[in-house]
């Protein structure tokens, strides 16, 4: 009898949680609809995601094949001209979206996971381990993050995964600190204390009450992290630390810089990727900003808080 009751109870909590998520998603959407710029940013990001999943439907040519002479200026055959070995720039740009977005997504996720573990453990459990983790976070704030990324990407040998890891290690401190503050304030809420008094174990409180509550803020941080990760990828690739066989916006800039497109005035090779990086970052920042304002109203008017 009792077993059945507990089972029912769990199911109810689960269903209730799903309801709550649905509600908060609908609320989020309602809030977002009122922000024109955020909506626009969301649409452009979705377009980029679609392009990066199905580049073959959009690209006119194979980005790795020679389809014309070197440095052909933009024409009707090649809308953005060709690069130094005669590859179509537009196709490279479209295929490059995939790697840039993928690295951005991977590193933002890794950074979020590290930040979440550090923030939740040190915010909820505190104690020696929590203190130590926060000290480590402070230490990583002191280490200049872009040189750190360079050193990591350099020592780890270039590939998609190591580049993502290097970027993630460069940017994880911000989500860690934000989530730490959030968990710290959640921990003192009356309903958490009540659960503790009722004898619910710490782990259960963490999984049932704290982490679901901190999820929206983590989500906003993830979007902002993407806005950091994409230019970081471009920077590292431009220095020459990416996998040379993979086309990304950053590596296009690298080739334009190294192989003379830049110095002989072939602007169509390096202007478009730069503009795309710029606009993508703006889109992620506006969306992340909106998400942060909606999920964490305390931070209103703080502007580009997560710089």
């Amino acid at each position: 009898m009792t077993v059945k009751k507990i089972g029912l109870f769990r199911n109810d909590v689960f269903r209730w949680r799903i309801e709550q998520y649905k509600k908060s998603l609908i609320n989020f959407w309602d809030d977002l609809k009122r922000r024109k710029s955020a909506l626009f940013a969301l649409v452009s990001i979705l377009v980029l995601v679609v392009i990066s999943i199905f580049p073959q439907f959009f690209a006119p040519n194979d980005p790795t094949q020679r389809v014309g002479a070197s440095w052909e200026p933009p024409s009707s055959a090649h809308l953005l001209g060709t690069d130094d070995v005669g590859r179509d720039v537009l196709s490279q740009l479209i295929y490059g979206t995939r790697i840039s977005m993928l690295i951005g997504f991977l590193s933002a996720s890794i950074a979020l996971i590290i930040g979440m573990i550090v923030g939740v453990v040190s915010g909820f459990y505190g104690g020696i381990i929590g203190d130590l983790l926060m000290r480590i976070t402070d230490f990583f704030l002191i280490i200049p993050n872009f040189p750190l990324m360079v050193v990591l990407a350099y020592t780890l040998k270039p590939s998609l995964e190591t580049l993502s890891l290097a970027i993630a290690i460069g940017i994880w401190t911000q989500p860690a600190r934000v989530l730490y503050a959030e968990v710290l304030s959640l921990r003192e809420r009356p309903y958490i204390l009540r659960a503790k008094v009722l004898g619910v174990s710490n782990l259960k409180i963490l999984l049932r009450y704290i982490i679901p509550r901190a999820m929206p803020i983590a989500f906003a941080m993830a979007i902002i992290n993407m806005g950091w990760a994409i230019p970081s990828e471009a920077f590292l690739s431009w220095i020459g630390l990416s996998d040379p066989t993979q086309i990304s916006w950053g590596s296009m800039l690298y080739y334009a810089f190294m192989r003379g497109s830049f110095i002989c005035g072939a602007w169509w090779h390096f202007i478009p990727p730069g503009i795309l990086i710029m606009l993508t970052v703006v889109a992620f920042m506006i969306l992340g900003q909106a998400a942060q304002e909606i999920t964490n109203p305390k931070l209103k008017h703080r502007g580009f808080y997560a710089l």
Partner: protein, 313 residues
């Protein structure tokens, strides 16, 4: 001070770990050639002290660091600390005016945007600042060179002086300024974006507070209110942001110097990656950590000057 010192030592240990223990080991890079006989490898290992246990190596490394010995660059065959000292002046020649320019621009634009909060001019300035903020600085440099150096031929496309290898002195200061102008302007404009946004947002926040109403009630004009009361409070946010963002300023030094071929620390880092120069990269990394820690100290002091509440503590 002691805390700062401990931070630097910890940073050095961290970079030791990064460079020695991660898969890309310089010792392996040095002796990785399979044709190298085992005896030679052993001799090389002994020469560089790599046969000793790690903790002993770490100890030697820290001792060397304290005496300013950062090893010998593979590429230049000179002591790393000597190269760093040479290039540091060049970096400061570029970075100080450029940072000052970016901050002045940022403060100016942020002030206007904050004053006209919500009006059209605020929206224009914020969007421009957002665009600047998200421009990759190396790309901005490439665009600037294409327009002003290659097409219009107004400024040199790169370098610090017309004669390669010349060192800056009073006699060629005109030449230096001519080379300095474009990188400084590019840096100043691109990096002003973040200062604009930070100052604007903290100004908007401060202007809603009670003491501003009080100042207005006292009969100060709007201009006086902003200059005397709001700006000082808003600059707190700016100063603490700069402390955190020294890493960002260093990024600017890397990208702008690399694009404009400015012979400074940033360009050195770019070259160190290009030529696989392990000791040099490590030296630059440690130098950057020292700069970060030092600037944190400076920010703390500035903060206590601007905010009397901190001083009392």
């Amino acid at each position: 001070m002691i805390k700062a010192f401990i931070m630097i030592i910890l940073g050095a240990v961290f970079s030791f770990i990064l460079f020695r223990i991660l898969p890309g080991d310089p010792a392996k890079a040095l002796t990785g050639d399979p044709r190298l006989p085992l005896e030679t490898k052993k001799v090389v290992f002994k020469m560089f002290g790599l046969d000793r246990p790690l903790h002993e190596q770490l100890f030697i490394f820290i001792c060397n660091l304290l005496t300013g010995n950062l090893g010998i660059s593979f590429q230049y065959k000179l002591p790393v600390s000597q190269i760093l000292m040479e290039k540091l002046t060049n970096t400061l020649i570029l970075l100080i005016p450029a940072t000052v320019l970016s901050m002045l621009l940022g403060i100016f634009m942020g002030l206007i945007a904050g004053l006209f909060n919500g009006k059209l001019i605020d929206k224009i300035i914020t969007s421009i600042a957002t665009l600047f903020w998200s421009t990759p600085s190396f790309w901005g440099g490439m665009v600037a060179i294409t327009i002003f150096a290659i097409n219009m031929r107004l400024f040199p496309p790169g370098g610090m002086l017309s004669f390669y290898g010349a060192s800056p002195s009073l006699s060629n200061i005109g030449d230096l300024l001519w080379h300095l102008f474009l990188p400084m302007l590019t840096y100043g404009i691109i990096f002003s974006g973040q200062y604009t946004l930070i100052l604007r947002n903290s100004l908007v926040e401060v202007l809603t507070e009670d003491f501003i109403k009080m100042a207005k009630a006292k009969g100060h004009t709007d201009f006086e209110v902003v200059m005397k009361y709001a700006l000082r409070n808003a600059s707190l946010g700016l100063v603490s942001m700069i402390g955190i963002n020294v890493g960002y300023i260093l990024l600017g030094s890397i990208t702008i110097e690399s694009v404009f071929n400015w012979p400074g620390i940033g360009r050195l880092l770019y070259d160190a990656v290009f030529y696989n120069d392990y000791p040099l990269l490590q030296g630059i990394f440690i130098l950057f950590i020292i700069v970060m820690v030092a600037s944190m100290l400076v920010v703390d002091i500035l903060y206590s000057y601007l905010d009397p509440r901190v001083r009392i503590k």
